[in-house]
Symmetry: C2
Subunit: 254 residues, 2 copies
Amino acid sequence: MITVVLLGAGNVAQHLYTAFRNQELTKVVQCYNRKGIPIHKNQKKDTVTSDLSNLKEADLYILAISDDAIEEVSRALPFQNRLVVHTSGSVPMDAINDKNFRGVFYPLQTFSATKEVNFTNIPFCIEAESEKDETILKSLASQLSKKIYDINSDQRNVLHVAAVFVNNFTNHMFSLGNDICKENEVPFEILHPLIQETAKKIIEIEPDNAQTGPAIRNDIKTIDRHIDILKNESQKNIYKILTKAIQSKYGKEL
Amino acid sequence: MITVVLLGAGNVAQHLYTAFRNQELTKVVQCYNRKGIPIHKNQKKDTVTSDLSNLKEADLYILAISDDAIEEVSRALPFQNRLVVHTSGSVPMDAINDKNFRGVFYPLQTFSATKEVNFTNIPFCIEAESEKDETILKSLASQLSKKIYDINSDQRNVLHVAAVFVNNFTNHMFSLGNDICKENEVPFEILHPLIQETAKKIIEIEPDNAQTGPAIRNDIKTIDRHIDILKNESQKNIYKILTKAIQSKYGKEL
């Protein structure tokens, strides 16, 4: 049995709490957040505190709080030599105050408040200062997920940048596609299956081998026609820049 | 029973042929391609021709050929007043020679040769000159798919541009993410579940509401750190331009 104190009240804290509730080998003995409010509809009020000095003893303290708060909250913890981890993709492990044993327990996924999360296929990126602590974190992660990776702080930084491309920027491509459809009264939902297939392909084929379209074919007639159809200067600009980037990458003459 | 002559030997022709083989209400009576070769392993040789003057009579001729060839091949057809359609997302209906009745039968999906296609959820965009022909095309499409849309040539052009954003450019984002991981020896597969979730979200949430990340949060510290981690000038440039585009779109100060 691993006992856990969970700090934070955001999406990650809530989804982790819900996932741990169903585990027999892990017990969240207490939650902390500034308002002292339950983070799950069935959580008992007396297991929540807003006072760091009231924190119970546990095997593990998980800081599922905003990136900026990790340093300060970890410094304010009223104990030492215990295992304290954060759940951030972009904060180095040593942002956690060194009076405690430090680690990272980072589930690499985009969480929204309303959507239930199945952790089974969500990769957990684990880092710790000692093998013993790494084992504890891996054992905890393995209760939730099949996918566990040793990732140090430098590698996690790289993953976080790559995630900006495949998640944030990809969503912006969807957003531009949606705008273009709306501006021309075409239902965006027609593109939903194409979007799903574009994502699915990646599991089977390297993205470089999956690249299609007028840019890589150097189909100048279509490219010019597309730029002409776009009314918005920002859309035109992104179309040109990404077309050029694809052509440069795959060695097409411009 | 609708009888079909299918012209072309590429991915679309092959996948349509395979799909029609399983239909009782449609019969592909003949295929045409320049080499006169079967486009399916179980296709009989005497149902394939390389000679346009040998084309059989049918209810419908489907030109599943390259965009550039549509005008020429439709002009070379040795008959008139029959229904001739193409399958292209970007060619107007009237590129087909007007000696025949014209239409479009465009399955909006990315096809690869190796991957089997289930048409059930693939949107078919239908256009025709008469209601009678539209009914024939819709009846044909409904044998393969649940999703059928009336889309004229202007709307199809718009869809095609939007598809470049959500498919071609999105795949380029995956490709850049893959490069960044490779350059830093981090397995790209860790990002696969995030990519699937990014795509799935779109079905439930408008892309504007799904936008997350350092750009929309205006998290300048993280943005600067990311640009610093990227080694490649082209990656840095795309990171900056898309960050700026997201910030402009959602009204963040730069």
